[in-house]
Amino acid sequence: HRHLLELLKRTTVHGESNSALIIGPRGSGKTALLNHVLKDLREMKQVTENLLEVHLNGKLNIIDPTNDKVALKEITRQLQLENVVGDKVFGSFAENLAFLLEALRRGNRTSSCPILFVLDEFDLFVHHKNQTLLYNLFDISQSAQTPVTVIGLTCRQDVLELLEKRVKSRFSHRQIYLMNSFDFKQYIKIFKKQLSLPAEFPDETFAQKWNNNVQHLSEDKTVQDVLQNLFHHTKDLRSLHLLLMLAVSAVTVHHPLLTAADLQEASRQHRTDSKANIVHGLSVLEICLLIAMKHLNDVYDGEPFNFEMVYNEFQKFLQRKAHSIYDFEKPVVMKAFEHLLQLELVKPLERPSARAQREYLLMKLLLDSSQIMDALQVYPNCPTDVKQWAASSLSWL
């Protein structure tokens, strides 16, 4: 933090040009850090009138992700150069670039206002053609022109390797790595801090009660287990927020305080498997098809299958059982199969072409066998024979 603050301060106060990258995994607080620093900076009187900020996001350029055009226009807009330009129609991309470079070239260290470029999702700018924008920004920061500080935010650790060698050479190699390096104790502390009500909360007695409760919660064993589990999965604070959000939404007038059970419930919701959830809503026939696919996967070791194979497997099961309940027509089975396709539980290997018959299209199952088994356990009113069949395809022989 201090490093970054110093860096920006120097740019604004001394007119020194710099470039830096903030690298850290998602949710590690890169943007928060930058905003914090900028806030501090703005509080300094010296800086407020002296800094121009340009914020660019790599996602900005949706239509044509390999072009700097939109970014350039955005820079011009944010620098408010367009009113200098007046009604001049911004012609070509080339003109635009020349215009901007000319503008930046005019300044010098002592007299022009320093500019701060913040490039969010820096890694996406790397894919722009020739990396023109980056080259020019870094080049300006390395030459005696308008003082410029370029700050890139990215989560990619290898972003430097993506830069072209001459762009890389111009970059100052200042990298600020952000890591979620806290341990579990700190994690609990964060949890407490996040959940506690602030001092300026209007109802003081309730705030006190709530905060006491939070304190208790943080010492509770089950709650600690829940948090530990989440902590093991990810150190991303956003997921913690998500979990707490789920828990807190259970709080009502009649149920004013958060309990450990609430948190557990939230954690359960948070952790549930999305695909397995879908399986719960399927019909018995569709489950049967899934089981058939699972067996096929076991037998052929994950080789792709087509509808005919699945139907065959299903028929085998029926013959063995000699039950007539599941004796559906083939088109009906086909329909069920297509439903699974729509739910993306199975996926065709290649795009369905008009020529290939649907029955022979090669498919892959997107579920793991354990997922199917888990789903079957909780599936209501599941026929026992189906369960047995699922457990073993060869048990009947």
Binding site: V84, V85, K165, H173, H232, K235
Partner: protein
């Protein structure tokens, strides 16, 4: 456009050869006849005449005097000329030697050696006038047409300006006289006390009116039939003006103007210009005021009547031309008369000024008259000749406020411009009227000048070429306070060192190469390669700087310097546009620019300076057909190009690798490669930058240089590390006092820059993320392939979790972990739509992962 028009011109000798040289098989002539096929006009230019010669920029042809005409052995028509140079042709830094304002009409007797005075006769455009003046003299006010007339006061020999020697002065005068003076009645009204230039001017008016007689007559008749409302005498004057232009010019106009006037000018503007033109003619009449009023009102009353049939195109094109090239129309003749009044009407200044303003505003609803003065105002600002449009403005004023005040106000305005005793007034008046609208067109030629103008507040339009600027900072930048800050400032890459250490040899080589080419006046290419940060661009710039200095000190012929950077172009073809803009200031499309440049470099330009072109990041100019590179390297091989190219790129074998044979062969074999700096050199660079500042330990510098030299030899990196080290030192300093960067600081900085981020990232990952990485390793080991699907890894992951006694994650959670690691690029993953069958691969070596995980 120029080429097209030229092809229709026929140049033929006038008369029989005067003398001929058998041995050289040359024969000399005393005149040349230029016949234009389409308009069937014919002009004859004789020895001693002044001519315009086609130049680099179509808008600024060269001025010259015809000294000799001959036909050489190969039947080529050649001409020997004495050059005159315009102000624009004189280097910027020398212009201040002049210590005075120079109007656009003034030229200098050119005594610079080295310009080719032998030119092809076909490049002559038309004849003009060049009048010699004494230094102290004001520019004459009575001019025919700025386009046609130039004045000489001083000579220019490349170093300093000199007053014309009496010998040349008289010679020039002679040349003018030779054309014959026919006195006319208009001379009668010039008072005896008027100054000589005025007289001369009127003479020239008359002369021009009478000289090209044969052509004159037919056009005159044509005109007078079409324009019945104007007095005949007036008209002939005007036609005469038209006619001074040779058919060449005329045709060019006709070619140019319809398109231009349609595209750029509004209809009413054209109308306004028409009016303007007529206004300008009016003052030629002896009885100025009365006629003026009458005339303007007449025009205002019947604007649609004037532009009739064939007259229209001609007059619009003419006015267009006038406006466009700052050339005023006919100057005011009754100047002298007005002059007499000026003395006694001085006290009226203030009043008149406001009056004229009022008249102006009142006129403003009326579109055409307002437009006229406005558009002409810019021209006026640049040239000192404000008079013509002052009058035209005054015309309108008169027309409204009555003829009473006309004399006083006009005289006042006149004085305003002529006598530099009221400068503040002049500036005021010019600012008042210089609306950005009018400055638009001239700005194309002189962007520097438009900048000075302050656009009126509230006017929506701004000058077209407004050069944008980053707002000034409000508070001044702080100066470095401590030694460390000072050191940091010097270590910044942007800090320009006084000299470039360790590149002396390369510097000398490049310098010698360019210098020799400059002296020879030939062209050539040089290819410079080297890894980034080895000082290629810096060295080349240093060379150019030295050469420019040498050229300033007249040790070398002057040259133009153009730089393009492949990275700063959006498209390789934009290179043409930028080069052309640097050279001539024109802005055209890429294809057109290529054509123009090719023409520029392939035709012998008589007065063209050598151009030094730096092409940085050459490899980015690569196109599939490589035509950009081909052209660039082809031009220097042309005989007359005088182009020196210094191409810079990173790769040493670029010519062999990506260039086609024909491009590579044109590039030639003059190559130079910049080796990466060795540690000693880096050390020298740092210490030379830190000269006088004791901020670094000797060992620390050495450590940095050795470290960088071992890696890349990139000087930028080296400087950045040092800079970072000073910062670290500064942090640490707060506890202790010593202000010197030690080994520890440098090591820290190096570690910070070169440390691998991956290991750290893995160590800080969450438990399940680490387990997932372990699972991947296990799967790799099992399968023996460095790629696995998530499904396979998942099984391992669950097994590992069971071993550790952890709750095993669900598939969704695994997918989340996988995508997080993928976002950090610890893993390379496929598109997530494949779900469990998504393939995963490590982005770092297995050993690194093992190392990072074992520590735990």
């Amino acid at each position: 456009m120029n080429t097209r028009q030229q092809s229709k011109l026929i140049y033929s000798w006038y008369g029989k050869p005067v003398s001929s040289d058998r041995k050289l098989r040359t024969s000399q002539y005393k005149g040349i006849r230029i016949t234009s096929e389409s308009s069937r006009t014919e002009t004859c230019i004789q020895l001693g005449d002044f001519v315009l010669v086609e130049g680099v920029n179509a808008d600024h042809p060269y001025v010259a005097q015809l000294m000799d005409l001959y036909e050489d052995g190969a039947q080529h028509k050649r001409a020997v000329v004495q050059w005159f140079c315009r102000l624009e042709e004189i280097p910027q830094n020398k212009r201040k030697l002049l210590k005075r304002e120079v109007s656009a009409q003034e030229v200098f007797f050119d005594q610079v050696l080295g310009y080719d005075t032998d030119i092809a006769a076909e490049t002559i455009i038309k004849s003009i006038k060049v009048l010699p003046l004494h230094l102290g003299e004001e520019l004459p006010l009575v001019a025919l047409n700025k386009e046609q007339t130039f004045y000489v006061k001083q000579s220019w020999d490349g170093k300093c300006f000199k007053v014309l020697s009496p010998d040349t002065f008289s010679k020039l005068k002679e040349a003018n006289k030779k054309r014959g003076v026919i006195t006319n009645s208009s001379k009668a009204f010039i008072p005896s006390d008027s100054v000589t230039p005025v007289k001369k001017e009127t003479e020239s008016v008359v002369r021009s009116a009478t000289k090209p007689k044969n052509v004159d007559m037919e056009i005159e008749s044509k005109h007078s039939t079409s324009k019945s409302s104007l007095a005949k005498e007036r008209h002939s004057q005007r036609v005469a003006n038209n006619d001074i232009k040779t058919p060449t010019a005329r045709k060019k106009l006709e070619l140019n103007s319809p398109a231009r006037s349609k595209g750029r000018l509004l209809g009413c503007e054209v109308l306004g210009l028409l009016d303007d033109d007529c206004d300008a003619i009016a003052p030629l009449e002896p009885s100025a005021t009365k006629r003026k009023v009458k005339f303007t009102s007449e025009i205002l009353g019947s604007p649609p009547k004037i532009p009739c049939s064939n007259d229209k195109s001609k007059s619009t094109s003419e006015t267009e031309e006038h406006c466009h090239r700052f050339s005023d129309t006919v100057r005011l003749t009754p100047y002298t008369k007005i002059r007499d009044f000026s003395e006694k009407d001085k006290n009226l200044h203030g009043k008149d000024d406001s009056l004229s303003l009022v008249g102006y505003q009142r006129l403003s609803p009326d579109q055409s008259p307002v437009l006229t003065p406005r558009s002409r105002r810019t021209c006026a600002q640049k040239t000192s000749a404000l008079i013509a449009e002052q009058i035209s403005m005054l015309d309108q004023e008169d027309f409204l406020s009555g003829s009473d005040s006309s004399y006083s106000s006009s005289s006042e305005e006149e004085e305003d411009d002529d006598v530099p005793c009221t400068p503040e007034k002049k500036s005021k008046s010019s600012r008042k009227f210089s609306t950005p609208k009018s400055s638009r067109k001239p700005a194309v030629h002189t962007p520097a000048k438009t900048q000075k103008k302050t656009p009126l507040p509230g006017t929506p339009r701004t000058p077209r070429n407004a050069t944008p600027e980053i707002p000034r900072r409000i508070q001044a930048a702080q100066e470095p306070a401590s030694v460390l800050e000072e050191a940091r400032l010097r270590l910044h890459v942007s800090a320009i060192p006084e000299s470039l250490p360790c590149r002396e040899e390369e510097f000398q080589d490049i310098y010698n190469f360019v210098e020799s080419k400059l002296i020879d006046g030939t062209g050539g290419c040089m290819y410079i390669s080297g890894v980034p940060g080895t000082g290629k661009t810096a060295t080349v710039h240093e060379v150019i700087r030295c050469l420019q200095q040498a050229a300033e000190n007249d040790e070398l012929p002057p040259f133009q310097f153009v730089e393009i950077n492949g990275m700063k172009l959006t498209d390789p073809h934009q290179a043409y546009v930028q080069i052309l803009e640097f050279l001539t200031g024109q802005k055209v499309t890429a294809t057109h620019a290529a054509v123009l440049l090719a023409k520029l470099f392939s035709t012998p330009g008589p007065k063209r300076k050598t151009t030094v072109l730096i092409v940085d990041e050459l490899d980015l100019l690569w196109t599939r057909k490589q035509n950009v590179m081909y052209n660039l390297f082809d031009w220097p091989t042309q005989k007359h190009s005088k182009l020196i190219i210094l191409a810079i790129a990173n790769t040493m074998d670029l010519p062999e690798r990506i260039m086609m044979n024909r491009v590579a062969s044109r590039l030639g074999l003059t190559r130079m490669s910049f080796q990466p700096y060795t540690y000693k050199q880096l050390q020298q660079i740092i210490s030379s930058r830190l000269k006088g500042v004791k901020a670094f330990e000797e060992d620390a510098v050495q450590l940095v240089s050795r470290k960088v030299a071992a890696l890349s030899g990139d000087a930028r990196r080296c400087l950045d590390i040092c800079r970072r080290a000073t910062e670290i030192c500064e942090f640490a300093r707060q506890k202790r006092t010593p202000e010197i960067v030690r080994m520890a600081h440098v090591t820290e900085a190096i570690d910070e820059m070169f440390s691998s981020p991956y290991v750290n990232a893995i160590r800080n990952a969450s438990l399940h993320e680490q387990i997932f990485l372990k699972a991947i390793l296990a799967e790799f080991r099992r399968a023996g392939v460095e790629e696995a699907t998530v499904q396979q890894v998942y099984h391992h992951h669950v097994a590992l979790c069971r071993m550790e006694g952890l709750q095993s994650p669900t598939v969704s959670e695994i997918m989340a972990i996988c995508s997080r690691l993928g976002a950090c690029r610890l893993l390379l993953v496929e598109a997530s739509s494949k779900y469990l069958h998504m393939r995963v691969r490590l982005n770092l070596s297995q050993d690194d992962v093992m190392y990072a995980l074992r520590e735990e």
